[in-house]
């Protein structure tokens, strides 16, 4: 496929929940639109009727609801087949951790009906899972905070004895709380177990500077793009509300070490804490683009665009430069929509 042909693509994107704990979908679409121009057709794939991206008509041409990941691959494939019959999708970019397993499993079937993906393997997905992260770090020479898996409230006691306070208590997929005493840790455990299931992860607290790295692996042990970002404003949910691109050879080397160790295929994000001794701890590895991914495009390395090109077989040379000192400052915006639109996506699953 030539560069010109990319403009006629129809791409499905999930993660339209541009809220205070934002999914990456809208940022991915913004980067794609910037890279591929007006001929691009974007199909939103939503889970809930109040995902703001559904109603962003300048970003999303049409949205279809899709079944929750717990409904399994058969239900998802049936729905995607229906959507494909109407829209002739060329490519899908899933943006939620929790849905990736199903999309990876379905990748060969999707390919058969003409829909490409560019995703890691199930093994790659599992190796960086929060539950396995510490062992992964030990095995591959990464600094990862010590952790303890919690399956019952009674496990909190042992975790606090081992890891002390403050203690980071994390949900299996999303959310984390910093607990300063046992009562707070148990409360966080109960809340996260109810929302995201077991295990809940108790992680050693590392004090330092929070840095995230957005990167794109080619599946052969190399990164095509790496852009590090220092968080400048952090919400009470720990999300970056503002950040700035930074240049640091140690961060680039860390991402390259990760790509080499895993042969990662697709977008990913390393969540890093740099401590007072300049040691880089990996707190989490997200197996998809982060919500701030548009900053990579703004800084000169459009990772979603590169992902599309790689999926269509284009051999890309690694980006070597980006602009350090490029800031993003997120904001909230009240969209006003007609109740009829809400009814259509709620009742018919299409808008």
């Amino acid at each position: 496929m030539t560069a010109n042909n990319y403009s006629g693509l129809c791409i499905g994107v999930t993660g339209l929940n541009a809220n205070d704990n934002p999914g990456p979908g809208v940022a991915v679409i913004r980067a794609l639109k910037e890279g591929l121009g007006t001929g691009l057709r974007i199909i939103g794939l939503s889970y809930e009727s109040l995902e703001p991206g559904i109603y962003m008509r300048d970003m999303v041409d049409k949205t279809y609801s899709i079944p929750y990941p717990t409904e399994g691959t058969a239900a998802l494939f049936e729905r995607l087949t229906y959507i494909n019959d109407k829209e002739q999708l060329n490519f899908i970019i899933p943006n939620f951790d929790a849905e990736l397993h199903n999309f990876i499993k379905l990748a060969p079937q999707l390919q058969q009906i003409g829909i490409r993906t560019f995703l890691p393997s199930i093994e790659q997905l599992m190796i960086r899972d929060k539950v396995n992260l510490y062992d992964f770090g030990q095995k591959n020479g990464f600094h990862v905070p010590a952790d303890h898996k919690l399956y019952a409230a009674g496990d909190v006691q042992k975790a606090t004895e081992e890891l002390g306070f403050p203690l980071v208590v994390k949900g299996k997929f999303y959310e984390a709380y910093i607990a300063h005493n046992k009562e707070a840790a148990i409360k966080a455990f109960n809340q996260l177990a109810t929302t995201w299931g077991y295990p809940v992860i108790a992680q050693q607290y590392i004090k330092g500077t929070e840095i995230n790295i957005a990167a794109l692996g080619d599946g052969d042990g190399n990164n095509i793009s790496i852009v590090p970002m220092r968080k400048l404003y952090i919400t009470d949910k720990g999300k970056a509300w503002a950040g700035v691109t930074i240049e640091d050879a140690a961060l680039i080397a860390l991402a390259d070490q990760f790509a080499k160790a895993t042969k990662w295929r697709g977008g990913y994000e390393l969540e890093i804490m740099r401590d007072a001794d300049d040691k880089l701890f990996i707190l989490e590895i997200n197996p998809r683009f982060p919500a701030w991914i548009y900053l990579t495009a703004a800084a000169g390395q459009n990772q979603p665009l590169a992902l599309v090109k790689m999926a269509f077989g284009e051999k890309l040379t690694r980006f070597e430069e980006y602009q350090a000192g490029k800031l993003f400052i997120r904001h909230s915006w009240d969209q006003v929509v007609d109740i009829a639109d809400f009814q259509r996506i709620s009742a018919l699953g299409e808008l």
Binding site: I211, G243, G325
Partner: protein
């Protein structure tokens, strides 16, 4: 020791360290000294320029210079060795 090579400064005294993402606001004097440091002027040269331009004693200037260097070090804006006074 010198100002780190990649430190970005502006005429209005804004300083950005692209390696860490830290940014600082300095006054007009800070801006002037940073510009001289970025140009590679030595400590002695910069002090001489300041003594000629402003009504300040050498003793006071030396005291302020020490404070200035401490602030730059704390902000992680200097290369590892001591600022070259030759």
């Amino acid at each position: 020791m010198k100002l780190k090579k990649n430190i970005a400064t502006s005429e209005n005294g804004f300083i950005f360290n692209p390696a860490t993402g830290d940014s600082f606001s300095g006054n007009a004097m800070a801006s002037e000294i940073l510009l001289a440091m970025k140009n590679g002027d030595t400590e002695a040269q910069i002090k001489q320029q300041l003594l000629q331009k402003y009504e300040v004693s050498a003793t006071q200037l030396n005291r302020d210079w020490e404070d200035w260097i401490v602030q730059l070090k704390e902000a992680n804006l200097l290369e590892a060795a001591i600022y070259d006074s030759k």
